[in-house]
């Protein structure tokens, strides 16, 4: 017996608990009504305390429940009302009146290393409840946060299944360190380092893949609530990791009672929300012809459209761009029925999505548990892409006298079916290629093989590999196996003082397998390609130890709570990779079949040691004071700056608690808040302070490798965290028993010691050096309003939020007046300079096309400009167009304001939810238009190309340059011609649900059945011409955001869902 593991003993214990039950029964009935209006309440949950037995009230508010003889109490709970427990006694009829509890001020808010009542809060914290997340077909919880929280912008930069989202809490404070908030799940701070877990695989890359979503391992249905610590005073308890805000995720726990089994699931279809309007094959062939003729006549003015290729070659030797590809001749001749491929139809599909989640929860007064399992499968709307998740969770809390022990375990397996869908066409990005590919080529040859006519075509046509072949045939799979868990033990040392030990871990294993078969061509090379196989693994181990002392006591009207702690956290990751080639055939894609050509392994680690303390005091629940201090030491900081100190303080006055307010009945709550805090940003490179050496080898003796080592980064022993100081003023206002509840906040945050890659004179041997320098200000106003009421049988609530944020660079380094960086193509620029937001677009200005030679002569122009070419403004007035100087700031990717609103209606068994959100005043640099709107005709073009300048008599719309394969007039220069207003309003979600009446269900033992139909992203209203106005090719980079180089569109999802519990 001694050898029986404790786990087994525990399992036996649990089974015993699950099997509790059968004894004598009797029946209790009654009606539940609203204490204020007297109306019947429908769907109130009625449970027998300590058991699983329960029911809900019907349309008349009545219920009947079977009660064991031994039962004492019945629990009545209903959203928006205070729960009540009533003793049954021997009564068989029990009528109940529930008190409305609109703003739920008793609601407990998790604030990091502790919790507090909402009414006691003196800082800015936003909350979203689990039910708002789990009733939507979202694969990751951040998707459900979109547009719900004032001052928290959730950006879906990519629609790729499993792709990361960008979350910005109160703007962008950092220029080069990360801007993602800290995520803390059940007390374990997660590291964001895994977003680029397995690096890049795209051969010839240089264009970053979109990061994966490290939070997508979490089953949204397991989440009880999410709190976002927005102001620095709230976040300061997380010290050097708090300056981008902190997102605290609490998962569900069981409550005392017999087991409740719940199922929630949905099945849906996804489709693209929008498409580019492209030319058809005939229009494109005409444009191609015209572009070649224009290039031809630019060089040989006597040339005629009718000249043969022989004549053209003789007149303009060595220039294939003036020849007419024979493949387009039938189109020019207008032959009917020729190939006219819509490549977007080929690359996109309608794809299914489904999720099934089953949970069991319950417990006794001493032992409570919640266990769940989930299967989620999302196929992507781009062919061959997809994401699957298998997740489990086991949460348990045990109380034994003075001791509390708890465990949260969350194992997950996710499977990403990756396709190089985003990024430039020349980097084999399949969406870009689909838009770019000429419509005259079919997808398949008559024999069923892929058609590669667009690749290595000749005639100076741009090479395009068949994107369907790339998507279908290249294998790229990544699996992530993850375990997030924590174990705590808490003991009451003496009255009011407890000690808590918290051990946490986050273990990750990534495996990525990639194979480019020989049958798929590479850009610019026809015929079979050398196959390439890549195998990559990465594991990361993050562990956490926390010792916390909690003190909580009231002395008359003086209430004091305090926490002091000591924590240590460390992360190590190991990466390994192998490359192979020379596969004999494409039968076996794993590396054993090929010849290993290269490989390597890599390890990094970081550590963080912290001491923290916080005291909260209030007098008579009216005057609140709170102060906190955290000291963080980290391996990432330079030797001269090893420790950072992050103090904060806040105060609040609950005016409505004052005696003189008791007569003002309309005002149910009035609170003024003021907070100040210091936080840091620790998302700096692991070894940023150490000058690293990089291998850079040479060759001697013909083939002998001469190992070379040289500094790749300069050393900076002073390197430290970025520091944010934020002041927040807030007002909470509730009217009519909080049926109308308004929260207002104004904040201003200065982030100093920005971690900047400061350009240094190249004569130093380096281009830039990481330094702590410069300052950025974010200031803004936030409002959140909730209105709820009842209208006869109709319950309704409307919540809305509105936020502004003004981002302004205050200073950079003395000798750095501005930081100008490029983007995905040479001539696009972004500027970061004092007085302007971070990463503003900085490009030349175009103002139409030259209508004729006279206009060119009268105007500054680039040397080879001709009629029909773009006209640029001579901004510095020197009479010349010089693209280095003739640039101006043209807006940015940061919205001026964001807004969101959610409407909830409930009538009888029906519920309806509508959510809308929007962002306004931001721009996107639609760089991909440089290719598909350039009228060169070497790739397919957007339909707007039809409005091009063709002659003085046919000037088009006056904004679109002439067709020319041998471009003149710098028409390819990135300018405001490519910048688009990306403001949008999106109907985010429409859901209609119906909860079946009770009697139907009781017969099969089900206590609740709700079915719903939902549409995600049904409508988006925007001027933006691309797929997604939130697009951002480089979500990690604040210096050059908002670029669209072909992106993965967001899907519209129609889904049908079911919630059952029994």
């Amino acid at each position: 017996m001694k050898l029986v593991p404790r786990g087994a003993a525990l399992a036996v214990l649990l089974l015993t608990l699950l099997a509790t039950g059968l004894s004598a029964q009797r029946s209790v009935t009654g009606t539940v009504t609203d204490a204020e209006s007297g109306e019947a309440l429908i769907g109130v949950s009625v449970t027998v305390e300590g058991t699983s037995t329960g029911t809900i009230t019907d349309l008349d508010g009545t219920y009947t429940v079977s009660v064991p003889e031994s039962a004492e109490d019945l629990l009545f709970s209903y959203l928006g009302f205070r729960s009540q427990t009533l003793s049954v006694g021997t009564q068989s009829v029990l009528d109940v009146q529930l008190q409305p509890d609109a703003a739920n001020l008793e609601e407990v808010i998790v604030i990091g290393y502790g919790q507090t009542r909402k009414q006691d809060l003196s800082t800015a914290v936003s909350t979203i409840s689990g039910s708002e997340i789990s009733d939507q077909p979202v694969t990751s919880f951040e998707q459900a946060m979109v547009g719900k929280l004032a001052g928290v912008q959730v950006l879906q930069t990519s629609g790729s299944p499993g792709a990361g989202l960008s979350v910005r809490v109160r703007g962008v404070g950092s220029i080069t360190a990360g801007n993602e908030p800290l995520y803390v799940i059940d007390g374990v701070p997660l590291s964001n380092d895994n977003a680029r877990a397995t690096g890049e695989v795209n051969p010839g890359g240089g264009y970053a893949e979109q990061p994966i979503n490290v939070l997508s391992t979490i089953n949204p249905a397991d989440i009880e609530s999410i709190q976002v610590l927005k102001d620095a005073s709230a976040a300061a308890i997380y010290g050097s990791r708090g300056s981008n805000g902190v997102v605290l995720i609490t998962t569900k726990k069981g409550s005392a009672g017999a087991p409740t089994v719940a199922y929630s699931g949905y099945y849906g279809r996804q489709e693209t929300t929008t498409r580019y309007d492209m030319l058809n094959a005939y229009e494109w062939a005409q444009l191609n012809f015209e572009g070649r003729n224009n290039g031809y006549r630019d060089r040989y003015p006597e040339g005629q459209d009718s000249d043969t290729n022989e004549e053209r070659a003789a007149n303009v030797p060595g220039q294939p761009a003036v020849l007419i590809p024979p493949q387009i001749q039938p189109y020019l001749a207008g032959e009917a029925g020729l190939t006219d491929t819509d490549w977007q139809d080929e690359i996109f599909r309608n794809a299914p999505i489904q999720s099934h989640s089953l949970s069991v929860s319950g417990g006794t007064a001493d032992l409570r548990y919640y266990a769940s399992a989930e299967y989620m499968d999302q196929q992507g709307i781009v062919i061959s892409s997809g994401f699957k998740r298998y997740s489990g969770r086991f949460n348990m809390d045990l109380t034994r006298g003075r001791l509390k022990v708890g465990l949260n375990l969350n194992p997950t397996l996710t499977d990403h079916d990756l396709v190089n869908s985003e990024g430039p066409w020349f980097d084999h990005g399949v969406i870009g290629l689909a838009l770019h590919s000429s419509p005259i080529w079919p997808v398949y040859n008559p024999d069923g093989t892929y058609n590669y006519g667009g690749n290595a075509w000749g005639y100076a046509m741009t090479d395009a590999v068949n994107p369907i072949a790339l998507a279908n045939e290249i294998q790229d799979d990544m699996q992530q196996l993850r375990l997030i868990g924590n174990l705590y033990a808490q003991i009451d040392l003496v009255d009011h003082l407890s000690y808590r030990l918290n051990l946490g871990t986050d273990l990750n294993q990534f495996d990525r397998d990639y194979y480019w078969p020989s049958s798929v061509e590479e850009r610019g090379q026809s015929g079979p390609r050398t196959p390439v196989g890549i195998a990559r693994t990465r594991n990361s181990r993050n562990w956490l130890v926390e010792h916390l002392l909690n003190y909580d006591q009231s002395f008359g009207n003086h209430n004091l709570s305090a926490v002091a702690g000591f924590t240590a956290q460390q992360e190590t990751f190991n990466a390994k990779e192998l490359y192979a080639t020379n596969y004999p055939n494409d039968l076996v894609p794993t590396l054993n079949a090929g010849q290993i050509t290269d490989g390597g392994s890599f390890r990094e680690e970081w550590s963080l040691l912290s001491v923290l303390g916080r005291a909260q005091y209030n007098f008579n629940n009216r005057y609140y004071l709170s102060a906190a201090l955290r000291a963080d030491g980290s391996s990432r900081f330079g030797p001269n700056n090893k420790w950072g100190y992050f103090p904060s303080a806040s105060a609040a006055w609950r005016v409505s608690g004052e005696p003189f307010m008791q007569d003002v009945e309309a005002v149910s709550n009035l609170k003024l808040r003021l907070s100040y805090g210091n936080t840091g940003n620790f998302q700096i490179p692991n070894y940023g302070s150490v000058g690293l050496l990089g291998f850079t080898d040479y060759v001697v003796g013909g083939d002998n490798l001469a190992v070379g080592l040289a500094p790749s980064t300069p050393s900076n022993p002073n390197l430290s965290w970025e520091r944010t100081t934020m002041v927040d003023v807030g007002l909470d206002l509730g009217f009519f028993n909080d049926a109308v509840y308004l929260e207002l906040d104004y904040y201003t945050a200065n982030t100093r010691d920005l971690l900047l890659d400061v350009p240094v004179p190249m004569s130093s041997g380096f281009v830039s050096e990481l330094r702590n320098i410069g300052e950025v200000n974010n200031r803004g106003f936030e409002a959140a309003l909730t209105v709820q009421n009842r209208l006869g049988g109709l319950e309704w609530s409307l919540t809305g939020n509105f936020a502004t944020n003004r981002n302004e660079v205050i200073s950079l380094a003395d000798n750095v007046p501005q930081i100008i960086v490029g983007g995905g193509t040479g001539s696009a620029q972004w500027i970061t300079t004092p007085g302007e937001p971070i990463g503003s677009y900085y490009n030349p200005v175009y103002d139409g096309v030259f209508m004729n030679q006279a206009e060119i002569d009268a105007y500054p122009h680039v040397p080879n400009a001709r009629p029909g070419d773009l006209r640029f403004l001579d901004l510095d007035g020197d009479g010349e167009i010089n693209f280095a100087a003739d640039r101006e700031i043209q807006g940015n990717y940061l919205p001026d304001y964001t807004a969101g609103a959610t409407l909830n209606l409930r009538f009888r068994g029906f519920d309806f939810n509508a959510a809308v959100q929007g962002a306004y005043g931001q721009e996107v640099l639609h760089l991909f238009r440089r290719y598909i709107y350039n009228q060169e005709g070497n790739m397919n073009l957007m339909r707007g190309a039809l409005d091009r300048w063709q002659s003085e008599a046919m000037p088009g719309d006056g904004k679109t340059n002439r067709a020319n394969r041998l471009q003149t007039g710098s028409n390819g220069q990135t300018s405001n011609w490519h910048l688009e207003d990306a403001s949008y309003t999106r109907i985010r979600n429409l859901t209609l649900g119906y909860t079946l009446p009770v009697p139907v269900l009781e017969r099969v033992g089900i206590t609740k059945t709700r079915a719903y139909f939902s549409v995600q992203n049904p409508f988006t209203f925007t001027q933006y011409l691309g797929y997604n106005p939130e697009v951002n090719s480089r979500p990690d980079s604040a210096l050059n955001p908002g670029e669209d180089y072909a992106s993965y569109p967001l899907a519209r999802i129609y889904s049908f869902g079911l919630n059952l519990s029994f």
């Binding site: 030797p317 060595g318 294939p320 761009a321 290595a456 000749g458 090479d463 003991i491 040392l493 030990l501 610019g524 090379q525 026809s526 050398t530 010792h547 080639t581 390890r603 680690e605 550590s607 391996s635 090893k642 070894y687 150490v690 000058g691 990089g694 850079t696 080898d697 040479y698 060759v699 001697v700 003796g701 013909g702 490798l705 001469a706 190992v707 070379g708 080592l709 040289a710 350009p759 240094v760 004179p761 190249m762 004569s763 130093s764 041997g765 380096f766 281009v767 050096e769 750095v816 501005q818 193509t825 040479g826 680039v862 040397p863 010089n882 693209f883 280095a884 350039n934 471009q967 220069q973």
Partner: protein
Amino acid sequence: MNIRYLFPSLLVLFLLQACGDDFLNLTPVSAPNVTNFYQTENDVRNAVNAAYSTLQSGDLYGGRDLSDLTEYRGDIAFDNDPSASSGIRFNIDRFLAGSTNEIIEDVWQRLYQTIYRCNLVLDRLPEVVMSTEAAQQYEGELRFVRALAYFHAVQLWGPVPLVLTADDTETSRLHLRQPVPEVYAAIEQDLDFAATALPASWPAAETGRATAGASRGLLGKVYLTQGDYGRAAGALETVVESQVYRLLPSVAEVFDPANEYNEEILFAVVFTTANTAEEHGYFFNSAIGDFIEPTYRSSFREGDERAATIELITPPGTATLVPAKYFEERSTTGNVGTDFPVLRYADVLLMLAEALNEEGYSPDGPALGYLNAVHTRAGLPAYTPAELPDQLAFRNAVLQERCWELPLENHRWYDLLRTGRASSALAAVGIDISNDDLLFPIPNSQVLIYDNPDGFAQNPGY
């Protein structure tokens, strides 16, 4: 509360605090770092190799950027793809490039990175224990590489910052643009030193490192560029007299991928397909047609074998065009390992002919012999004194010979600058240039960083 629980917890607390320093001081595991480097001779050798390896960069000899500035800029090759990368290469070819042109900036940055790597080891060298002989050799190699980098910089931009020690990033701001003669003086000192410190040749396993001959040859070119013909001839004659080098029987053999770093090569930047990291794409390749000026192609005389070296061929399985002299079968990764010649014996002979002719024309002197050695090797009949009756005719013949012998080897723009022919040569291919065009713009980013209109001004005209 049981004291049994408290004690272990406090112990953990104590232990963690005690090891706090170790816990927080993590040095990179997988990346070597500067804290413990430059201590042994092996470290120095690795650092010297790294200095050479910057020359392999795509911005210098491993790709197209340097060729944009030295070859496409001239009248032999042209950029045939104006729309590629917003025309940043095209603009260089057509003298439209401004100070924000990334290609120009990349070359600047890579040259100074090369210089920094040399400086860093030169600074640390005295502290490392090794034989004087070895130290001299390493110093010679580093100073050769540094001189090569400065020689490019001074020809491309004129006055440039002269940095001869490895300074931190703040101090480097104090290095302003120095007058051209001072830069040349430093180059000469480096090459003088290298010429005495380096061996005439290396053991077979080490070929590719700089030699005394390479240093003297380059020194000769440096003198020639400054118009110091006497010293140029002196240095170059030493190379000839050393008899280490010879002309191979045909030009084709010089570029035979099976016969790299042959007796005609004084210095080349070495690549190999034996290691995938040491490969490169085809030099001077084009996907969209010819890029050799037709006037140049037609300038070859009947029977000149060198015309074949710039014929464009299409490597199997590609749609690209590659000049024959840089053709090699592709490796499994689609790349090649052809070396890029920096200095070869034919160049030395032609420089010597040029220097001697400038010293004083002699109808049948050694200068004619050197010119004819190269001329006849190409399969052409020797020049007679009657064909080159005066100094000007001889000068023209040497320049023309260089043009035929050394195309696509990054010499042409410098040759045009040195001989004052840039303007006329480009006019002949339809490009009018001004005196300002003889220097490239200083990268605008650097002008902004220095922010010093006196000490670090932009070149005129930009």
